[in-house]
């Protein structure tokens, strides 16, 4: 297992994918946090003392998680595209340890992306929001850690998805269409249902789960504990959101489900 992890680290480090995706991650974090993000206009800013950086950082983290997902999908499916999966499977008697190693390393890359997002974002925030109140260190750290967890889960989910689908283009396009559009449409559909129970399902979708986790703390800091959940509802497009850890659990459950699917498919697949 240690060997397979080491091998996955070397595979990741020996191609351009990881830093090719890191560049847009860092650039987006700079842009979003420099200008306070899309929330600046949306949140009432009566006395100009609101620590908006917290919200823009959470928003940047949400985008970073998508890059973590892309890294996982492309990296795992590349083994099938370039037919290196034959060599990989010949180094392991069973296939599941390969999947676990891939998911672990992709999770680490996702978490690293989130860490870079936080560091670059705070520096950009210092440069661009000098007049506004600066968030407390504790709240910045909390958003950073939650962002790292969310991006790690998306990275792991991506590696599992890439293994299950194996066709690189299909897996990538499918993942992006769902994350950028599919879940939004699904949320609108569920959110407009008659039954409140059905509306609540919106909080149990993976993208929404990740957004709930990211927006919970900033919303509480910016809008107060009473209005916070309502702000999360508006931002994530969900009904009755759980707290941040609940959102992470939702994302983790989806990651587990995709991993189990990949596990079953990978064990049964004939590598010809």
């Amino acid at each position: 297992m240690v060997g397979l992890l080491h091998a996955e680290v070397r595979k990741t480090a020996s191609t351009r994918l990881w830093w090719g995706l890191l560049i847009p991650v860092a650039l987006l974090s700079v842009l979003i946090n420099l200008f306070g993000g899309l929330f600046t206009a949306a949140i009432p800013d009566e006395d100009g003392r609101l620590p908006l950086l917290l919200a823009s950082l959470a928003y940047a983290m949400g985008l970073t998680a998508i890059f973590g997902l892309v890294h996982g999908v492309v990296g795992a499916a590349a083994e099938f595209r370039h037919r290196t999966i034959t060599t990989t499977y010949l180094t392991s008697a069973r296939r599941w340890p390969v999947l676990v190693a891939k998911m672990s390393v992709s999770a680490a890359v996702g978490a690293f992306y989130a860490l870079v997002t936080a560091v670059v974002g705070v520096l950009a925030g210092l440069a661009g929001e000098a007049g506004a109140a600066f968030p407390s260190f504790g709240s910045l750290l909390a958003v950073t850690l939650i962002g790292m967890l969310a991006a790690a889960l998306w990275g792991a989910l991506g590696a599992a998805l890439g293994t299950a689908v194996s066709n690189q283009v299909s897996a990538l396009v499918g993942a992006l269409v769902y994350v950028l559009l599919g879940e939004f449409l699904l949320s609108v559909l569920l959110g407009n249902a008659e039954s409140v129970d059905v509306q609540r399902l919106t909080a149990f979708l993976p993208v929404n789960g990740g957004e709930i986790a990211l927006y919970d703390l900033p919303a509480q800091v910016l809008a107060g504990p009473e209005l916070g959940p309502a702000v999360v509802e508006a931002l994530a497009g969900v009904t009755s959101p759980p707290p941040w850890w609940g959102g992470l659990l939702v994302l983790a459950a989806w990651t587990g489900a995709v991993a189990a699917t990949a596990w079953v498919i990978a064990e049964r697949r004939d590598v010809t």
């Binding site: 060997g3 397979l4 080491h6 091998a7 680290v9 070397r10 595979k11 020996s14 191609t15 351009r16 590349a78 370039h82 037919r83 290196t84 034959t86 060599t87 990989t88 499977y89 010949l90 180094t91 392991s92 008697a93 069973r94 049964r268 004939d270 590598v271 010809t272």
Partner: protein, 308 residues
């Protein structure tokens, strides 16, 4: 190999192995053994099920029936498979942007061999100087060499090669032959597939010939060669008188062929000519029929020219 205990080290056993892809039966009840200390040639025309069989041995394809074992256990139960079996397969790929050295380093990490082994196998296959080039720029022959380097990285007891001659130049093929013979001489096993008998004739000690997924010959190369004895083909004035005269000298394996020639086994043209002269039988034509293994191989694997 010193330090490899047990007399089963390196033995591959295939028992009743079958694979169906939908309606197509790719491999059908195959049984054979690959013994250590020898090169086993795995022969069959393209599409006869060689690749599928090798991939089942390596645990890459799940058999529909039967099983393959290496050192007495299925691939999935080997503790560190790359230390037991190395493989050079046809559809084995490389990331085009990764260098050969870095590709090998991913494998050495996975199987837990020191990184120094990478330099050693690069040297063995003659890629030391090209090791830092991206594999995307490699020729087919260089890729085959790299695939062999990967297979050797774990210092395995068994080497499985699927059509390794493809893409190699004549010099490379000669080098590979010598390498495989040396590998087997160390008491290790080699299973090498080919669709050309000539390619393994000089290397293999043992042959497994398959056609349409079934085994049609199995045994030492000598057995195949001896399965048809060389004959002298004669056209002469009187079959009866020549046959009688030959029988008196102890040559009795004589057949009349459909085209009117006489086929005489167990002798040579000089003896037949001498006997005919003595018996006063006119000879109109005489051919010494050579044993052509390739011809035998074609006969063994002949199949109607149609898509299954």
């Amino acid at each position: 190999m010193p330090g490899r205990a047990g007399d089963r080290a390196g033995r591959v056993t295939v028992t009743g192995l079958s694979k169906r892809f939908g309606q197509v039966s790719a491999v059908d009840g195959l049984t054979f053994t690959v013994e250590p200390g020898a090169v086993t040639g795995f022969l069959g025309p393209n599409g006869s099920g060689k690749t599928t069989t090798l991939r089942m041995v390596l645990g890459l394809v799940t058999p529909t029936a039967g099983e393959a074992r290496i050192n007495g256990v299925p691939f999935a139960e080997l503790a560190n498979p790359a230390r037991v079996v190395g493989a050079v397969l046809e559809a084995q790929g490389f990331h085009p942007a990764r260098t050969a050295r870095k590709h090998l380093l991913t494998v050495s990490a996975a199987i837990g061999v020191p990184d120094a082994a990478v330099e050693s196998v690069l040297h063995t296959v003659g890629l030391t100087d090209a090791g830092d080039r991206a594999v995307g720029g490699y020729s087919l022959g260089m890729r085959q060499r790299l695939a062999l380097a990967v297979a050797l990285l774990g210092d395995p007891q068994v080497l499985v090669l699927d059509e390794p001659g493809n893409g190699l130049d004549p010099e490379g093929i000669a080098w590979l032959r010598a390498f495989l013979r040396g590998f087997a001489r160390q008491g290790r096993s080699v299973l090498v597939s080919s669709h050309l008998l000539a390619e393994v004739e000089q290397t293999a000690d043992h042959l497994v010939v398959i056609s349409r997924g079934r085994c049609v010959f199995q045994g030492p190369l000598e057995n195949l060669r001896n399965s048809r004895r060389p004959r002298v083909l004669v056209r002469c004035g009187s079959h009866e008188r020549l046959a009688d005269a030959l029988a008196r000298t102890g040559v009795v394996e004589i057949d009349t062929l459909p085209d009117g020639w006489l086929g005489i086994a167990g002798t040579d043209p000089v003896h037949v000519g001498d006997v005919a002269l003595e018996a006063g039988v006119a000879i109109y034509g005489m051919v010494h029929e050579k044993i052509d293994l390739e011809q035998l191989f074609f006969q063994l694997t002949a199949e109607p020219w149609q898509v299954r």
